[in-house]
């Protein structure tokens, strides 16, 4: 039984667990599952803190931000149980000819730009990714269009990235660092 919580899960077990969790969330909270409002509140909170040049009081703690804090707690528990907790500053697949600092810079730029596009896309679509996921279960047409748009364009962009020499996977490494 303990091994079940330590080992990685198959796609079916993972899918079953996530679908049960979404149904439970709908039953307990009776609200759309998405977290987009939580990110908006955190962004506003950070903006206020930057404007005031000190940490703003009254962190917006509601069920959505609590859910995000919960995600962090659950992830720590799972990674400690499974032995996958590792401190990493640079993603394992990012290599640069300029060495560690170059890889750090490349990964930082890629991640900020990627994160920016990810959130912009979600704002356009009107909900966070798990909101779209839960809405697709409830047969929202917009969520299914979003998912198919993501799958098609994701494969296209990934192919373009590889064709243009982008390193998105360890199997396609450049020269090893000197």
């Amino acid at each position: 039984m303990l091994n079940f919580f330590k080992g990685k899960w198959s796609a079916l077990i993972s899918g079953f667990s996530i679908s049960m969790l979404f149904i439970l969330t709908l039953y307990v909270l009776n609200t759309p599952v998405g977290m987009s409002d939580a990110y908006l509140k955190i962004s506003d909170y950070c903006r206020d803190s930057i404007n005031m040049r000190r940490v703003a009081e009254n962190f917006p703690f509601d069920w959505q931000t609590a859910f995000l804090v919960g995600i962090a707690i659950g992830a720590v528990l799972a990674s400690l149980a499974g032995g996958t907790w590792r401190l990493r500053i640079i993603p394992e697949d990012v290599k640069s000819k300029s060495g560690t600092m170059g890889a750090f810079g490349v990964s930082a730029i890629q991640s900020v730009a990627g994160g920016f596009l990810v959130m912009t896309g979600l704002q356009f679509a009107g909900d966070s990714f798990i909101g779209q996921w839960a809405a697709a279960m409830q047969l929202s047409t917009g969520a299914w269009i979003f998912i198919f748009s993501f799958i098609i364009w994701g494969v296209v962009f990934s192919g373009v990235s590889r064709a243009s020499g982008g390193k998105t996977s360890p199997q396609k490494k450049g020269k090893p660092d000197k």
Binding site: Y27, F67, Q110, G114, A136, A143, S158
Partner: protein, 197 residues
């Protein structure tokens, strides 16, 4: 039966507990890892889409019965056709670069992957930027006419199909097997594989 619809402190605690379970599932299923997502898009490992479609298959059937027994109600945000299309495209472009979705980035950051902080910063920067251009968006993609067959609910879109939840579940099962046969995946831990490579 009716949904619990908790409020106040119990709602907050429920959010925390549900989030904890979700964070646990994200790590156990490996969908929070950057490598799982990038390998999925480069068609090397089908784990992410298999998790997605298996959950949609099971979830659609579960939701159908739960809705019929009054346990849950339909709770979705309004969606616009062109907003979903362009949103999915931008989201895909971002994922191809950083390999993480917002909740996955939170989970990844909590497991020591400091580089996820950059992704999170990018996401937080996007929010005021989108807010800044929101008026322009309201006048463009949210107003562009959707195709004539479009309806916000799939029941309206396929009104002739009997019990659409089961059809959607069957389609999701097909997609699951499609990714299973063309990509497989999940045999080796993504993190371990990356370490070996």
């Amino acid at each position: 039966m009716e949904p619990l619809s908790l409020s106040g402190t119990p709602r907050l605690i429920a959010g925390l507990l549900l989030g904890t379970a979700f964070g646990f599932f994200l790590i156990q299923s490996e969908v929070a890892w950057r490598k799982t997502m990038l390998d999925q898009l480069s068609m090397k490992n089908g784990k992410f889409f298999k998790v997605l479609f298996s959950s949609l298959a099971i979830g659609a059937v579960l939701f159908y019965f739960a809705k019929n027994y009054g346990i849950v109600q339909i709770q979705t945000r309004p969606a616009f056709f062109w907003g979903s299309v362009t949103g999915g495209m931008l989201f895909a472009g971002g994922i191809a670069l950083c390999g993480q979705f917002p909740d996955g980035a939170v989970a990844s950051l909590a497991t020591g992957k400091i580089y996820s902080l950059w992704t999170f910063i990018g996401m937080l920067l996007a929010l005021p930027s989108v807010h800044f251009v929101s008026k322009k968006l309201s006048e463009t993609i949210y107003k562009w006419p959707a195709p004539s067959f479009y309806a916000d609910r799939m029941e309206k879109l396929f009104s002739s199909a009997h019990n659409l939840y089961f059809w959607v579940a069957a389609f999701s099962v097909l997609m699951f097997f499609f990714f299973e046969f063309i990509q497989g995946g999940g045999e080796e831990d993504s993190e371990e594989k990356a370490e070996k490579d």
